[in-house]
Symmetry: C4
Subunit: 235 residues, 4 copies
């Protein structure tokens, strides 16, 4: 337990820089927000309806890691119903350090975890590792030019994991590496928060969930009647 004690002391100490770091996070997530705002600049006035940005951010010596969920997108069908168009993800943003508690937002790299990759993350055992490969240009003529590899492997001091991201660019002949130790406590936040959003990035809260108006004999129940076990039985 002593090692754990010390590792927590270290965490406690590092957390004494929290205020300063947070102010930096605001800067970082500000430019981050600008990106996404550009993305939605055509969306009109409804945009001011309280769309929010919130990261879980970890700042370490060599790099920072910002994690945030991305909702799924839905397509409206002629019937007026909707079905998932693009599934949601949990977006990881790695930012390299360029000095003591200074991080270069220009050189950030993204890695988007799918539902199954999130499932792998939150079910990792204490001694287990996992590795994910992404090709941003998949199915395009550029396929294979850029290779991203995320490896999550256990730390020696109980319970934490080392996050390694490598981004190889065959054209630019570059290979960027990000290395970030995640404590057991930080990983527990990831596990809990990812478990909370996993059904939401799958869009299940739209199929069934408190946000549905289910008062009275609503259509959801009507349709459910056709979808319930009878559907199976009637075959």
């Amino acid at each position: 337990m002593l090692s754990r004690f010390f590792s927590l002391r270290r965490q406690a100490v590092s957390s004494s820089f929290l205020a300063e770091k947070l102010s930096y996070v605001r800067d970082a997530s500000w430019s981050y927000n600008l990106v996404s705002e550009r993305g939605i600049s055509t969306a009109g006035s409804e945009r001011s309806s309280g769309k929010a940005f919130a990261d879980f951010s970890i700042f370490k010596g060599k790099a920072a890691l910002l994690m945030s969920p991305v909702p799924p997108t839905f397509t409206k069908m002629d019937s007026g119903h909707q079905r998932v168009d693009k599934k949601g993800v949990i977006l990881l943003k790695f930012i390299p350090a360029i000095g003591q508690r200074k991080y270069d937002s220009e050189r950030k790299q993204f890695f988007a975890l799918s539902a199954t990759e999130v499932g792998c993350l939150i079910s990792l055992g204490p001694d287990e590792s996992c590795e994910f490969f992404h090709d941003p240009s998949m199915k395009s003529s550029l396929e294979g030019q850029v290779k991203k590899t995320l490896t999550i492997s256990p730390l020696n001091d109980g319970g934490g994991y080392m996050f390694n991201l490598s981004v190889m660019n065959a054209v630019q002949k570059t290979n960027e590496r990000f290395t970030l130790p995640v404590t057991k406590a930080e990983f527990s936040v990831m596990r809990t928060a990812c478990g909370f959003v996993l059904p939401l990035i799958m869009g299940w809260d739209r199929v069934i969930g408190p946000h549905l108006d289910r008062t009275g004999h609503g259509p959801p129940e009507q349709s459910a009647i056709k979808m319930d076990p009878d559907l199976e039985w009637e075959r």
Copy 2:
């Protein structure tokens, strides 16, 4: 851990077909949606109020498995209150493969998991198996003609499960079999998503939950006064 590493490589590779597969899922869930729309075609304009469809889908060599929740249905009582009429389920749809990443939606089979069967699924230990028997014609004159058996048993490589569905039809003299290996990561998604919807298919989010308007001295509190420990104490 090496075996795990490799199994994850395999997963990573297979996930490089994700885009294509998803487009196929859209086709599949499209016809799927049509079914349920027919079911609710009489429900009128409120239908366009954002009813949504979202599956968790797994595509393997011999079959595909699509999983999605089905809300419970409620009956309005003279009092204006509601009680559960039909309990919700988690619907499994098995589709046989008819070629490389081609699946025949016409030959799909459903299996609807009850709350207790979901409880069994999400509490499965690493070495445990479970088996469910359904008779779609239960309590009818056709009872026993069709027998469905779903078996979930552990895979050798750490953490995954094999899903086996057998549908025996004594009249048509057919016995369809679906076999699908589910990785630990995929099962973790099932476990998390099923844990999220379990209270919702039971309808508990209607009895107590954020979607209830609980501002001020609302009736829920009034009724709760009669239902709280005093109810026990006053006996």
Copy 3:
């Protein structure tokens, strides 16, 4: 694993009476609803705003167990804010069997689990037992006349628990006993559903939760400013 297999067969078979049982549950919960409606008969027309009843019900040879959550009640303060008046509970209703799949709703007994008792239930290890004592007349002149004892102890076949409720009435010289085996799958439903409602019976979803309107610079944030770490720091 074989024993588990068999126990699941038994469950599967018993589940083939599900339809019949459910129809019975409807009868049971109907009278149940009447009770609670009488309790709220003065609550007026708002009552028709979709208050719902939903049990998790287990029917066994000697008794039935119906479990359902009860929301907390809140008191409005002069400030217009609210604070918890009565904490919510999870209500257990035991009904004795009087024949094959017949249960005598007249002889039901209630046992209301507090948040901490729910915490004990959901954290029970495979070999652990727990025992709760309630005195409905606590702090009244009748204190000690009626003693309720709920004991939950592990079953031999892996993962299930035996629920025992004893209600001793010193005045009527009666001692009613209810004994109910709960399978691992059924207990997993209890654990998951109780975990879902635990924060809600504590009223935490009113302090912080999706149902709060948090758009714009809302008062919740204003007050949070006074309640956040600065409150600690400023001391």
Copy 4:
């Protein structure tokens, strides 16, 4: 198991004082509410919109512990979107006992747990300890004058933890200590309730969650299109 049995008996007995204690809690949280209301006295009429207070409270021989969540605060950006300004916390309030079931609310001490500290709390193994250091005057000229140390260490009887808070004031030359045994059942409530609010104090329910209006082709989906894997792919 016997020791556990006895510990639970003790708990059951102590719970027979629940009613009295709760009435006391109401007194305590009343003054507590006054504090926070003063904090928001300028917030205007919207305040009556159902802001609520709810603690999880534990009353022991030497001290009482009240736990409650504090939502994050958001800053509106020119774009109309919002980003987290101050992260939420889980606030611990320690009150010393001054007699049998009497607690001196004037001498209370606060300790605010950050998301990562909550992550540490809920992932504590049965034999693990953790320790947190806070300096309320951090980054001010008074830095180091007051030192708060919260230590959580396992109890000998299975599953509980001892909470120790020490508040050293170098100026007032005082060192207040609070010691509180938390049973396994009580800690299970903490773990479950903290797991429920952790994503909420991070503000993730604002980024993605049922409380978002996601009907139709809403902007959240629009923006998501820019944030989803394509963002990664397009780099």
